[in-house]
Symmetry: C2
Subunit: 338 residues, 2 copies
Amino acid sequence: MPKVTVTSSDVARLARVSQSAVSRSFSPGASVSDEMRRRVFAAAQELGYRPNAIARAMISGRSRLIALLVAYLDNHFYPLVLEQMSRALQARGYQVLMFMTDLGSQDSVVQKMLQYQVEGIVMASATLSSTLARECAATGTPVVLFNRYDPSTPTSSVTSDNLEGGRQLAHLLADGGHSRIAFIAGHEDSSTSRDREAGFCKGLAERGLPLFARHVGGYTSAGAAAAARTLFDGRTPPDAIFVANDHMAFAVMDVLRRDLGLRIPRDVSVVAYDDVPEAAWAAYDLTTVAQPCEAMVEATVAILLEQVEQRAVQRRAAVLPARLVLRGSARLPEKPAG
Amino acid sequence: MPKVTVTSSDVARLARVSQSAVSRSFSPGASVSDEMRRRVFAAAQELGYRPNAIARAMISGRSRLIALLVAYLDNHFYPLVLEQMSRALQARGYQVLMFMTDLGSQDSVVQKMLQYQVEGIVMASATLSSTLARECAATGTPVVLFNRYDPSTPTSSVTSDNLEGGRQLAHLLADGGHSRIAFIAGHEDSSTSRDREAGFCKGLAERGLPLFARHVGGYTSAGAAAAARTLFDGRTPPDAIFVANDHMAFAVMDVLRRDLGLRIPRDVSVVAYDDVPEAAWAAYDLTTVAQPCEAMVEATVAILLEQVEQRAVQRRAAVLPARLVLRGSARLPEKPAG
DNA sequence: TTGAAAGCGCTAACAA
DNA sequence: TTGTTAGCGCTTTCAA
C-alpha cells in the first residue's frame, strides 16, 4: 500500500516551492502570485493532495464545526430543521456534528462537543440544563436554543411567536362557535408548550371563554392518545381541542375517529401547531399554525455565526411570526375572525 | 477574559507531573498508577481541563469521526435511521459528521468528508458515483451503502431482503384475489426500487399473473400522486397497487380516496414497503413490509467499524430479512398465503 | 510575494 | 510506572 496521506510538504517538494507557499495557495485571500498558485495546484492535483481540516483546525483554532443537539426525531418538524440547518451551515463553510441526547446524559454530550472544539452549538432538544449553559459560557462557545428558550440563562434563542399563534387559534375556535375548548400540552417544562397555552388562554379570555379542560401529552403519540381518551371520559366532552403540536394531533385524531367514532370537525374540532408536511395530508387535513421553519433556521444560523465570527456573546432572542393555516379539521367561523 | 483553553501542560504544571502523564491519565488502558491518575484528575478538575479531540485526532491519526451522507429527510425512514445510527456510533465512541447531498455536488461533499479525516462513511443517499467510490478506496476510507447497493463498485452495503419482501407482497395480493396489479416505482436507478419490483414480478409470475401497469413516482409525494392519477386514467383501472415505499403510498392513498372517491381496500388495495410509524396510523393503516431498521443500523455500524478498526477493506453485503405487516389497506386472502 | 521557523495540543516511542 | 523527546500537518509571524 502506498503512502496514503499526501501532505503540503509533499506538494511543496514536487512544485519546488516552500511548504508555506502551498498553505497560502489553499487559503483564500492569502498573498500568492497567480503563477505560484498555478504551480502549486498542478502539483497538488498530480499527488491528489487534500488539505487536512483537522490540522488546520488545530493551528488556526477554528474547527468550522457546529454541534447540533437533537432529542428525538419522531416529530417530523425536527428532521426538516436538521436538513435545512445542515444545508445552511454547509453553504457557509461549516460542518454539522450531530449529537442525540440520551436524556440523562446531556452534560456528557456537551463535554464531547467541547472536546471537538465546536465553534458553536445549536440545541433543538428539550431544555438546557443551566450547568451546561454555564459551561458553554465559560469556554466562550456560543449557544442558540432552537424552538425553545430558557429565561434563566443568558442564552440566545429562536422561536416562532407561540403566544400569538396560540391566541389566534383560540379566536378561531371561539369564533367558530365552540364553547368547551380543551388543550393537550407537550411537557410542563417546555417553554414552547407553555407559551402556546398561555397565548391560547389569553385568546379564549378575550372571547370570554375559560379553558374547558387540559391534559399533558408529553409530546408522544401514546401520551397524546391517552390524553384524548381521558378528555372524553367524563359526561361532557370538549367540542374543540388544541393540541400543542401536529405530531400529537395526528394521534389524537386517530383516537377520536377510530376509537370514539367521532367525526372531525362535525363532532369536535382539532387544531395544532407546526404545520409539518403530514398536516396537509388528506387524511388529516389539519388546521394548524405554521412555524416559519426556514426563517427560524436562517435566524439561528445568523445569530450563531455572528457570535462565532465576532466572538461577541451577546444574547439575542428572535421571535418570528407564525401563520395560521386553515384546513378542514376545525369548524370555521361564519365570517373571518376580527 | 481569562485564558480560555486549558491544556494538558497546564494540568501537568499544577499537578507537578509531566505532560505525558496527563495524557496517559486520560487514555483508557494506559500504564498509570492510581495515585498519579488521582492527582492528575484533581488538577484537571480544578482547571476545568478537557482533552482536545482535534489535537488527539491529529497525532493519533484517528479522528473518531464518521461521515453520514443523506439526501433528503422527507421520507420518515431516514430520520429514524439517522437517529439510531447516531446513537449506535456515539455509544462506541464515534461522532457523526452530517452531510446533505446537494444532488449535483456529491463529489465535493466527499472531498469535505475526507478533508475532515473521517474514518468511515455511511451513504444513505441516492447512488454512489463510481468516481467517488474510487476516491474513497484510494484513501482507504471504508464506505458502507445503507439501504442500497451498487454492484459496479466493491463497496459494502446493507439492505433488507427487498426481493423477498416484494415477492411476499405479490403473493399476498394475488392470493387476495386481485388480478390487475400495478406498481409505482421509486427511481429507475435505485437498486432498492428495482429489487422490490423484481421480487414483486417474480411473485406475481409464480401465481401466473402479469404486472398490470407500472409508473415511476420518483420517491416524492407529488410524483406518486401523479403516478396514481395516471394509473386510473384509462378504462380499466388496477385493483391493487404496490408502491415502492410508504412515503409515496400515503400520497397515493390520499389521491385514491379524496380525488377519485375510491375506498381502500374495497375498491383497490394498497401495499408498500418500509413500515414507517405513519403506516400504523389509523387513517392509513397500511399493509407493508417492515424494514428491520435497527438491525440494518447495527449491521452497518458493525461492518463499518470492522473495516475502520482492522483497516481491512473487504467487501460485505448484508441482506437482512424483512417482515410482512398485515394491516387494513389490502384485501386479505381467505386463508393465509401458502 | 516568498521562505524559514515556530509552534497549535497532543500521543507515542524511548529511556530511565 | 514515569519523564523526555519528537513530531502529526498545518497556519502564521518574521525576514528577506
